[in-house]
Subunit: 335 residues, 6 copies
Amino acid sequence: MTRPITLFTGQWADLPFEEVCRLAASWGYDGLEIACWGDHFEVDRALAEPDYIAGRREILERHGLGVWAISNHLVGQAVCDDPIDDRHRDMIPASVWGDGDPEGVRKRAADRIADTARAAAALGVDTVVGFTGSAIWKYVAMFPPVSEATIDAGYADFADRWNPILDVYDEMGVRFAHEVHPSEIAYDYWSTVRTLEAIEHRPAFGLNWDPSHMIWQDLDPVGFLWDFRDRIYHVDCKDTRRRMSNGRNGRLSSHLPWGDPRRGWDFVSTGHGDVPWEDSFRTLNAIGYTRPISIEWEDAGMDRLVGAAEAVGFVRSLAFDPPATAFDAAFSTDR
Amino acid sequence: MTRPITLFTGQWADLPFEEVCRLAASWGYDGLEIACWGDHFEVDRALAEPDYIAGRREILERHGLGVWAISNHLVGQAVCDDPIDDRHRDMIPASVWGDGDPEGVRKRAADRIADTARAAAALGVDTVVGFTGSAIWKYVAMFPPVSEATIDAGYADFADRWNPILDVYDEMGVRFAHEVHPSEIAYDYWSTVRTLEAIEHRPAFGLNWDPSHMIWQDLDPVGFLWDFRDRIYHVDCKDTRRRMSNGRNGRLSSHLPWGDPRRGWDFVSTGHGDVPWEDSFRTLNAIGYTRPISIEWEDAGMDRLVGAAEAVGFVRSLAFDPPATAFDAAFSTDR
Amino acid sequence: MTRPITLFTGQWADLPFEEVCRLAASWGYDGLEIACWGDHFEVDRALAEPDYIAGRREILERHGLGVWAISNHLVGQAVCDDPIDDRHRDMIPASVWGDGDPEGVRKRAADRIADTARAAAALGVDTVVGFTGSAIWKYVAMFPPVSEATIDAGYADFADRWNPILDVYDEMGVRFAHEVHPSEIAYDYWSTVRTLEAIEHRPAFGLNWDPSHMIWQDLDPVGFLWDFRDRIYHVDCKDTRRRMSNGRNGRLSSHLPWGDPRRGWDFVSTGHGDVPWEDSFRTLNAIGYTRPISIEWEDAGMDRLVGAAEAVGFVRSLAFDPPATAFDAAFSTDR
Amino acid sequence: MTRPITLFTGQWADLPFEEVCRLAASWGYDGLEIACWGDHFEVDRALAEPDYIAGRREILERHGLGVWAISNHLVGQAVCDDPIDDRHRDMIPASVWGDGDPEGVRKRAADRIADTARAAAALGVDTVVGFTGSAIWKYVAMFPPVSEATIDAGYADFADRWNPILDVYDEMGVRFAHEVHPSEIAYDYWSTVRTLEAIEHRPAFGLNWDPSHMIWQDLDPVGFLWDFRDRIYHVDCKDTRRRMSNGRNGRLSSHLPWGDPRRGWDFVSTGHGDVPWEDSFRTLNAIGYTRPISIEWEDAGMDRLVGAAEAVGFVRSLAFDPPATAFDAAFSTDR
Amino acid sequence: MTRPITLFTGQWADLPFEEVCRLAASWGYDGLEIACWGDHFEVDRALAEPDYIAGRREILERHGLGVWAISNHLVGQAVCDDPIDDRHRDMIPASVWGDGDPEGVRKRAADRIADTARAAAALGVDTVVGFTGSAIWKYVAMFPPVSEATIDAGYADFADRWNPILDVYDEMGVRFAHEVHPSEIAYDYWSTVRTLEAIEHRPAFGLNWDPSHMIWQDLDPVGFLWDFRDRIYHVDCKDTRRRMSNGRNGRLSSHLPWGDPRRGWDFVSTGHGDVPWEDSFRTLNAIGYTRPISIEWEDAGMDRLVGAAEAVGFVRSLAFDPPATAFDAAFSTDR
Amino acid sequence: MTRPITLFTGQWADLPFEEVCRLAASWGYDGLEIACWGDHFEVDRALAEPDYIAGRREILERHGLGVWAISNHLVGQAVCDDPIDDRHRDMIPASVWGDGDPEGVRKRAADRIADTARAAAALGVDTVVGFTGSAIWKYVAMFPPVSEATIDAGYADFADRWNPILDVYDEMGVRFAHEVHPSEIAYDYWSTVRTLEAIEHRPAFGLNWDPSHMIWQDLDPVGFLWDFRDRIYHVDCKDTRRRMSNGRNGRLSSHLPWGDPRRGWDFVSTGHGDVPWEDSFRTLNAIGYTRPISIEWEDAGMDRLVGAAEAVGFVRSLAFDPPATAFDAAFSTDR
């Protein structure tokens, strides 16, 4: 296979970067999609310390790993979110949280996401994967009644906060790949359509295709690839398993923790869930996607050291390259 | 059929109570489940004005209608909700909203829901239908990461706010029938289990079975009746139609307004959706439910004057009484 | 519609024959499929009393009803059954039960089923509907291990007991229409194939198509009509509803009584269940079935006086005659 | 309902026009979609005889019927078809067939379809419904191997033959509504996309939405309405029922005649099949379709006099108008 | 994996115990669930011969195998069964069969099952797996009509016969794990509920979870684990494949032998069927099941030497242990 | 496994025969199903050149490969086809095409298919696999209206052209195995029934079971094996994957090329599709099929060198032999 298979380091940020490099290389990954948290890739240091990036590059090279994208989901989440609360405090850098005043947090998060483009360019990668946050996600139940003006305002808020950020991305020659995900401005098919309209389809903003969030919403991740084929900037392979056959486990999963068998769905090791992986990889071939295929490993019921090692083999076996010629040439007598 | 079929007046509160009585009677309803908003049933006046209740009774009797339950969803929503915002302001009485300080709104809402029991008793009905609100609904996506302590605190908050209210209900001989619904403390099967545990299954708190919110979550509304058979205090017949066959319309419905064909599901006139009505009514027979069957009519794609008239006939034809004797008696020679 | 719609009187045998005639006529039935139990049609009296049959005919005519078939399921059940026990005693005539010695019961039952052909001929009808019983039904779980020899012996026992009976049918110009049903020698598709082989497809033995027993076995009742089209001698319209969506209600229904919502399936009023009625009636047209369409009404959750009246209208609306000419004649310019 | 319900007269052309008018009016139709075959509407006479159109109008008015579209499927079929053979001879006017030389037939058919626009304008209607034919339909199995050049040539042939026709439509202010149908240039979703591209989306060419041909191809007729909402120029309500549950009846239906129960699908009376009619009508409301809803009645297993009378009631009950206001206004305290 | 994977020896009793040990060890099993038939484990000898048990233990140890449970399905079957016939004679020890008088057989079977607890204790295992038999299984079709009193008597018969047996189990510190199975007193979900009620949930009686019998009844084996989580005493991994897609192969499988493709379902090698194994093993983790996972291998279409070797690898790959910590720790900045 | 696994060389005819032998042997195939095109097996040379066949045999033996069948689909296609056009010219030998006059092509194709039997006999194999062509396939849409006489004539044409060919087959002791396939006289279940009737079930004509063409027609390939079990003369394992979940990709696949993700189905590497392989191989065991299992590899989205190597292992793992004895022998005490 010609496309690199990378490991997203976000769920491994409790381990030192070097240890993650060692593990990923030992399992056969070609590179990393490096998270901008833990000590994996620190945006402020990357811009402030002259040899920080060279140091990261050196560690990667020592393990024979490449990098084609970095990710900053956690800070991105704070750009548009409302409310801003302890959940954000616990996952963003102290320098972004500051005094915790919501609007201040949002502004500092926007600055940091712009800086992430600068750091990406410095690292030599052209893609930043992440989240946008959303001022209107909390109204998803549409009760108490929500006016269309409120929804419109939510998309406008997104455009107002992200257009200046995307100007920096354009300047740096970097693109932002938003992961369609609950809690974000674009979380399903039609909200993705609306989100792209809100920023007038500017090319700086595209999508990180992660099918795991589509499966439990009954969206078709394969058709999504085709319909948004000019905006697929990155691919994250996370898997989801539905288990709703008893009429008691529902889609909303009862605020139960990951791994609880009463949840209607759960994230599982890549290849153990309901994502139609082979159809997806074939469609990635069909739309000419040639960038990394990254594994985002998340499974509350399986040891990650076992699972991440298994997943790279699973993906490699299915994400094969297309053939060069059509099969029915053999039927022709024109030889 | 021996059980009364009533019309829930909540979606008709823009019309005067008397006009709703006239319409419901003309369509063949046996009575009303009266909403405590608009001018339909005003709790404060019911407790303050000596002849208010007699006046309501008189109007009902004039139209040949009965009443077995009143409903106060909108104020109930404010008891536990967080955030409290303009959505609440627009739907609760000014006297409950007051200065809009969130905790003050919650306390006044709790007082008003307690008063609703007093007013119900005065009206001679033993059931109040409604919502609870929820401090943790907004965390339904479970991202940014939510701790189990936060979820536990949400159920505790519910118990702390509702136990004093339910003391009043016990005192008045009235029961509260919570409608399992997104945005509430109990919104699916396992959250209902947890909610009942939080208040130690005290009999004052039961359920208003409304299957429309279960359908799009892939919950089984029929099994729900059986499993919670000792807590089914009221029945609201609202219907939901799923339309997700294209892989683009998802469960979360993209913040699209009611009636938009891109939504993955929508409320439709009772009998036009996916609720297994006959199985449900047969199970209500099996569990011995003998209270009203109320129609909550809501359909953004159909004229309500047409739909509500049709719905009462639909329900009456299926909600038949069980037979008195077993069918296989006829096989016996013991005659 | 040119085919008569009849009511099977088996589930009404606790009522006097004349009362059943009165009811059926008032609901619009064209005739009866008369059960040979209760006082509806007594085989021994029909053969012994010179004017018994004229009396029955007179009652029918008085109510404007016809008869094209009689049914003797209950005695038929005893012909091959093993064990013979109190269940049989309670449902067959005392003269057939006698001292209850199993082999004696079986022999007297065989004689009575032969007599039923004689009585049918006397009444002027050419079809007797019924059951066969089975020596091997009790081994349906195939554990403890059952040898193929035992199964073979079961079919042989059927042939040995029924061939002499069928000789009488041939002699009388009457045919027996077996109802494929659990507890019988033929209870599904392949056991029907085997049963017809066991008696070498002699024309005296055919089938009473009753789809209700096929639905819960996941058999296709429409394809059954086509495949056995030369042996469809009678049609009984009984309906079945599956309700297994919760993973707890199973196919075998836990020995629960009819009407219990925990059963995985139940008999319901014709038109309320899962039988594909319109496809079935269209296929009856396609195979040229021109005999009666009889309604066997059985529903433990509905009053039979309500249900049987409704069912005749349901069937009449769908069991329409085929058109005389092909629809695409209108496209031709050959006029 | 504000939109007229019309009867398509194509399947009734063996009856005189006046008789069809009498029948349609007696069943409650508002008007006709008149076929240009039989004596219903003769294009050549309409252009040649000064009072032909007035005569048609007079008959319609006498029966209280309107007309908003005429249809010329049969001649349209011959415009692009290859081969041209006896099937065409049997269904097109002798003047179009001429000597039967294929290319001559195609050219005369093209002229007649252009004339149909002229006749429509003369009649005062702005829509012609019909077929296009196709040079490549016969290659649908893609074996023996078919080159992409051959397929490209098929679409080009369509454009070459139809663009001059559509020039006449533009001139006359009439639009052609192509019925997506096997045997035509556009027969499914992606071939419709390609067809519209081939003529560069010129507005003169739109679609007659007939869901019956989509059902057995597993296409979603509701989503089709949304995606092609600016090209839905006419609606034909024909219904299809799938019956493939036995693994023997297949999609291609074995060259079996209409009405044979071994076919995997068949056309059935509107409302008796698998088209999601209510979802379709609601989506027609959502896209603002305000033109006629026409019933194309075709069912080889049902008498057409019975079926067409029933169908108009079925459609009228579901094709209701949308409401004027949003349902949740009643929740607001803003009164 | 920390739980042992064992092989149930019941289907291997035609081979000498030592040979089965050799095979199981060579395939990588951790131990055996030893059947009390063939020469595998003879209850009477275990109690009568002083060194019998030491001899069994020695053989196991020599092959590096453990034992945590013994099984006595065949004798257990005779405790409640009615009728008792040749099928029992062929599968139980001659000393239990005796003269074959049914009630005598039942009593001796009961004694032997009590002795099995004594022998288990002597062997040092605390679990006996097996069947109960049933006086009412034969009435599963509920025709001829069966009274509720008869069903009640069946459960009472079970309690009467098993309570004294279970007293011995309590005394010995051993528990009986009943396998929910057709032909037994508990054969589906609700009959299991009723069975546990009949013996008042005494802890001596629990369940051997074998999903193969649930699959063809459309029961959810995963939900079964959760609902009866305090009674799951043992696990047998047998698999079942449904093949009913043609409308001719039914649930009851036509008395056809195992392996016949016309059966609606069949037992297949573990991992080749429809049991949701991974969901099941994850739920076993979630309920804290830490006892053996035993493979009951049965497949009439596959060589057992091939299949049993393959099955242990299949189960080992999916029955992984749960992780120690939650996956989302990595998102926190609390480091 | 005792049956040989062969590779069908048809899709490899652009490679020299010897190279295909080398590849197949290196991947572990037991032999080849040799195509009569490319240089693989030339019928005319086999009959004309004395040592041609010995030469082919020598090459096979050198690579350790066997041969049990040869295939001549492409010439067979021309025997009945209408129209005959460039698609045929491009795939049949120039000597069969000749001047391209359709009837001449058909006659020469018939002669060549007869010669293929002679060549097969010379090679020492008793089976020729192939296609028949069809005069009526082009009417599959049944519009413009097709008369039953036309369909009847199509089957008669097939019989007229093939009976003389089959006489040669009988004479040579060779059988023709027709592959049920779109474009052929038999393309689904009922057209196969009709085709076999047309030639009066003469044994010289049987079937090459290739399930890939059944999957997208919703036919059951497993039941097909059982129903036509006496006519299964050869097996080709080609696989098909459906992908129609989005309501836009239809069964007829829009004339899109193989590998396009908008097609409703596509051929994929054996084991990557929707064919129920294990059920199929088990049924082949049940019907006693002992001839080759051939892999027809075709996948426009995968490199054939990767896929064909993988497929042989996939098939070998599932096409296991049946066991010699019944599993439940172990339950018996008769030892």
